[in-house]
Subunit: 202 residues, 2 copies
């Protein structure tokens, strides 16, 4: 790794932490330069524009998400255990120490939901991929016989997604002590519903 790449990587790590606190738009070149001990122009040379910096912050986060959430879960046994691992890793992700301000995707989602551009495209693509990963894990659980055969995996992914996103707000904004417990209970209810035999549900 050359010096430039090393610096760039260091900057992105710091930028991700900063972005989780103040949002993608809130990451100013000057503030970021101070944090990593570079001059504004010195740092700017690594990123052609602020928009490009934002895209690269998102790309960094997406890569980390794959490493920290998806990859370890893939090593779990196919079926329900893998689905559970995906969800639990997801909860850990939201409180990762490299994102002191919380999940960057949620912050970015609010900022970008109405602002077209490459940053939004990247975010939307990654979130759709993630929903598809959840759905596919549920599909596998169906084939393994863990989940009922008539399960709507798109519905399952949607509900899991909502539970995790909701958790972020209840725990971070409201600081509800029972948040984690309730979120897990909600997820168990989702799993139970997915597990119910078709005949019993019909």
């Amino acid at each position: 790794m050359s010096k430039g790449e090393e610096t760039r990587s260091h900057v992105l790590r710091e930028a991700l932490a900063l972005a989780s606190e103040v949002g993608l738009e809130g990451v100013s070149i000057g503030k970021l330069a101070d944090r990593v001990g570079l001059s504004k122009s010195g740092l700017f040379a690594h990123f052609d524009s602020k928009e490009s910096l934002q895209v690269q912050i998102l790309a960094e986060a997406i890569a980390r998400f794959a490493d920290m959430v998806v990859a370890p879960a893939i090593k779990k046994p196919r079926g329900e255990p893998r689905v559970r691992a995906l969800f639990e890793n997801w909860l850990k992700w939201a409180v990762a120490d490299f994102m002191p301000g919380g999940c960057i995707f949620i912050a970015a989602a609010v900022e970008l939901d109405d602002k077209p551009g490459p940053a939004r495209d990247l975010l939307v693509g990654s979130q759709r991929d993630w929903l598809e990963v959840l759905a596919e894990a549920a599909r596998i659980a169906m084939r393994e016989g863990h989940f009922r055969s008539n399960l709507d995996v798109g519905q399952f992914a949607h509900e899991a997604y909502s539970i995790a996103y909701g958790h972020h707000f209840v725990s971070r904004l409201l600081r509800e002590p029972k948040a984690l417990q309730r979120t897990r209970k909600g997820f168990e209810r989702l799993i139970d519903d997915a597990r119910a035999s078709p005949s019993a549900s019909a």
Copy 2:
């Protein structure tokens, strides 16, 4: 209503719309002044500081939420119908025409979750109140015999909250066409669970 109050009200209406698009922090005095056809200083005179402006925007939103979501639901029959009305009104709220950028509370939650101050305090208080309204509606449904007698109403409110917040992301960011259908289905599953008789659930 005096001239000043009229202007202030007009400004707040416009500010709420703007804030839903660019966030509370994104509402700059200059931009807002342009929108309502005032000078920066003329507008500023109505609000002692930017922080105060943000608080008043939130207060305006909270008042509208009470009018648009809570009040009409209170007129519905006690019990499950009222719970359903609260949820359905909530979904309507998130796409109200006076908030073209989506629910202001979600935008504010992301901005304020780690920024102490009066704006955060107001937001947190209102959201806790809202969760309590949901829980109380569920409690009434218990007493009416619509919901099972051993229902955890805090859990119920938490899950309903998550479903609605999740919906906002899936519909606004991902623009998933099936979002509304899936969100409603998730809510029906929550209602079903709340309705199940204690003996059957134990």
